[in-house]
Amino acid sequence: MRHTISILVENKTGALARIAGMFSGRGFNIDTLNVGPTLDSSASRMTIVVRGDDKVLEQVTKQLNKLVDVIDVQDFHDEEYVDRELVLLRVTATSKTRPEVMQICDIFRAKIIDVQADTLAIELTGSDNKIRKFLTLMDRFGIKELTRTGKVALPRSND
């Protein structure tokens, strides 16, 4: 099972290493990891997608909380949060296939952000499902390069 965990962490040297090291040292798997600033410049927010059962997740949460640099840990359950991921990709698009690629982009509300003679650079945000589906469709044209942010998440309410 995949879980999305949101961690508020002190913006200090080594905080990321501590958290990443805790995962590897205790045999937990990270699917995606994203770090970014927050409103409070002394703290960062990490969003981690972890694979494991409830027992693993309980340990992950507890071990994270045990780290001095970790201020707050939220383990999001279904429906409690919204999440998105940003994907940038470069797809083969000749004059023949370009219209079809652009049409699919339109349907997915993806943006074309750069055009070259035989490729298009595309920006897409969305949920897991949407991204997976879009990438499957793009595969046919040939994905040359791909970079993803990993999931970021936000609780729907304060509690």
Binding site: G25, Q59, K62, N65, V68, D72
Partner: protein
């Protein structure tokens, strides 16, 4: 699920301003402010300025170990007998890496430790400078917390936080890595009065609902057992535990780390459980219908096959570290709490319910009868010999001659188990042993640290010839610093515990477990009497049982460091024994 940490108090008291001085002196001032009275420190290029500053301190005694590992083990010995953070220091590179085993050891056994390491100049970091290692990175998985000092003005805050973190909650080691150029810089320090760490709130108290639920479970139990560990000692909750046991009249077994948390001379004591624990403790814990686990972590050396451990019983687990609850063993009632609080609160409720402290124990007659049967059938025992000295006999004799009142440190191996089995501990912090990490070489340096902390106590390292040799250089520290720590080497010329496993599981094929001289089997090698002579430490060898009592007495009477080299047969096994990954039913008793 949302698990929010509430932040510690914000600083209120006005901070102190100090004189303009260098970083090294600021560090030393901070240590003095934390009440540090001794530091085990080995100098080198990147920590010299701190040693220079230490020469000017009137409050801190600097003890020079002869190897950094000896220094960190000594600091652990100091910490384990006092509960105060032990402090050690080393230079960058090899000095720092030599501390690592000790830091890992302190982490595994939850020992408060502040380890300070010199680092190369800031502008050299990451460039492969002479004696540079990324100590911050190297120690990440084995510290409770760590700091790389990057600004001289942070030193006072960092040191204050380091001691707070090391000593509070579940204690552990904290590393401070400090570049040499910062040691030499100058600044006017501002010493904070309080610590503000929003991600760290170690004080947790059980709510009454949980405690009442526990008492309810006790009321319904017919075969209850208390299984308590090092947490009771670090949580200073031994008195409360004794009261709790006497009010509930529940038998108590401890872990190796928990030795001394409950008096082993008490009628409710089952001594300790686990791989080499007593048959009756293992039987009782496994057949209990209610197991109250207090300050323990269900270590594999205690539980054997963990799924089978206390398989049919209800388990309550009280601990100050939330991550220990449901980690190794899923329990019915996990209680997150400071142990002293939880036990005294429970005692208060029991008092109100009219459960007085008992002197004779009658509450579970059937259960006591069953346990007594196991005690009679399987007491800790060994086959004594008329002339050859059995290792167990040495420890029994030491227990008699010291009235069980000495502080015992150990190395790791057979002697460690026997030291646990045949000495009776009645006070916390009197059995000092590397339990979790199992670091050979721990015994003698730990004894030095313990003796420095408590000079009026008799401190004796019960060691093996393998373990003792691993930090034999600390004999120099003992002699030069005048530390009267004693050592008994149970010398069987072998790595006894590995030999025992070879005998049991590898058809006695010896895989590099003989420590003597294969070209001259009659010779005792190495010659500890000669070694000690070289270090200026008194030592005598004992070969015959008839000479032992007088020799042990001479050792005890000595006012200075003293080593007793006692020759014992290597054929002796530590029993009982539950093989790794097995259950209490697989226990080997002969």
């Amino acid at each position: 699920m949302k698990t929010k940490k509430t932040s510690s108090k914000s600083p209120k008291a006005a901070p102190d301003r100090g004189q303009l001085t260098d970083g090294a002196s600021i560090l030393v001032n901070c240590l003095e402010r934390e009440g540090v009275d001794v530091i085990f420190a080995y100098p080198g290029g990147a920590s010299m300025p701190i040693h220079q500053a230490l020469t000017k301190s009137k409050k801190i005694r600097v003890i020079l170990p002869r190897h950094e590992q000896g220094g960190v083990f000594a600091a652990e010995g100091y910490a384990r007998v006092t509960g105060k953070a032990g402090v050690c220091m080393a230079t960058s590179g090899p000095g720092a890496t030599n501390l690592i085993t000790g830091i890992a050891d302190a982490y595994m056994d939850s020992v408060p430790l502040v380890a300070i390491t010199g680092q190369v100049n800031q502008d050299m970091i990451g460039r492969g400078a002479f004696q540079e290692t990324d100590m911050f990175g190297l120690t990440l998985p084995i510290v409770k917390h760590s700091y790389l000092v990057w600004d001289i003005n942070d030193i006072p805050r960092i040191v204050k936080e380091a001691f707070h973190i090391a000593q509070s909650g579940r204690p552990g080691p904290v590393l401070i890595d400090i570049p040499k150029n910062i040691q030499n810089q100058r600044a006017q320090p501002i010493y904070p009065k309080e610590v503000a760490l929003r991600g760290y709130n170690p004080v947790v108290k059980a709510d009454d609902v949980a405690i009442n639920e526990m008492i309810g479970l006790i009321q319904g139990a017919k075969k209850p057992v208390i299984y308590c560990g090092g947490g009771v000692i670090t949580g200073e909750a031994s008195k409360e535990l004794l009261e709790f046991a006497e009010r509930t009249q529940i038998p108590v077994t401890t872990t190796l780390m928990g030795i001394g948390s409950f008096p082993e001379t008490h009628p409710l004591s089952l001594k300790w459980l686990g791989m080499h624990g007593t048959v009756y403790a293992n039987n009782a814990a496994n057949e209990a219908d209610l197991l109250i686990a207090i300050g323990v972590r269900f270590d594999d050396r205690v539980t054997g096959k963990v799924e089978k451990f206390c398989e049919h019983g209800t388990i309550i687990h009280i601990d100050i570290d939330n991550s220990e609850l449901n980690k190794n063993k899923l329990v019915r009632l996990p209680i997150l709490s400071d142990l002293k609080y939880a036990l005294s609160r429970a005692n208060g409720i029991l008092e109100k319910q009219g459960l007085k402290r008992a002197k004779s124990f009658t509450r579970y007659p059937e259960w006591y009868k069953l346990i007594d049967g196991w005690k009679k059938k399987h007491p800790l025992s060994y086959n004594d010999t008329p002339d050859a000295i059995q290792p167990q006999h040495v420890i029994k004799l030491l227990n008699e001659l010291t009235k069980g009142e000495a502080i015992i440190t150990t190395g790791v191996g057979q002697h460690q188990m026997w030291a646990g089995q045949f000495y009776n501990y009645s006070e916390p912090r009197t059995f000092v042993s590397s339990a979790g990490l199992g670091s050979m070489g721990f015994g003698y340096p730990a004894a030095l640290g313990a003796k420095v902390a408590l000079p009026h106590k008799e401190v004796i390292d019960i060691d093996g010839d393998g373990s003792f040799l691993m930090n034999v250089q600390e004999l120099a520290t003992a002699h030069i610093e005048g530390i009267a720590a004693k050592a008994i080497i149970l010398n069987n010329q072998h790595l006894g515990m590995v030999v025992q496993w070879e005998d049991r599981f590898y058809s006695s094929n010896r895989g590099h477990t003989f420590l003597g001289d294969p070209r001259d089997l009659k010779r005792i090698y190495p010659d500890y009497v000669e070694i000690c002579k070289g270090f200026g430490v008194k030592c005598e060898r004992v070969l015959h049982k008839k000479d032992l009592r007088a020799a042990v007495q001479r050792m005890l009477d000595s006012k200075e460091a003293y080593v007793l080299d006692v020759m014992t047969p290597y054929t002796e096994h530590v029993l009982p024994m539950i093989p790794a990954g097995a259950t209490y039913k697989d226990i080997i008793t002969e």
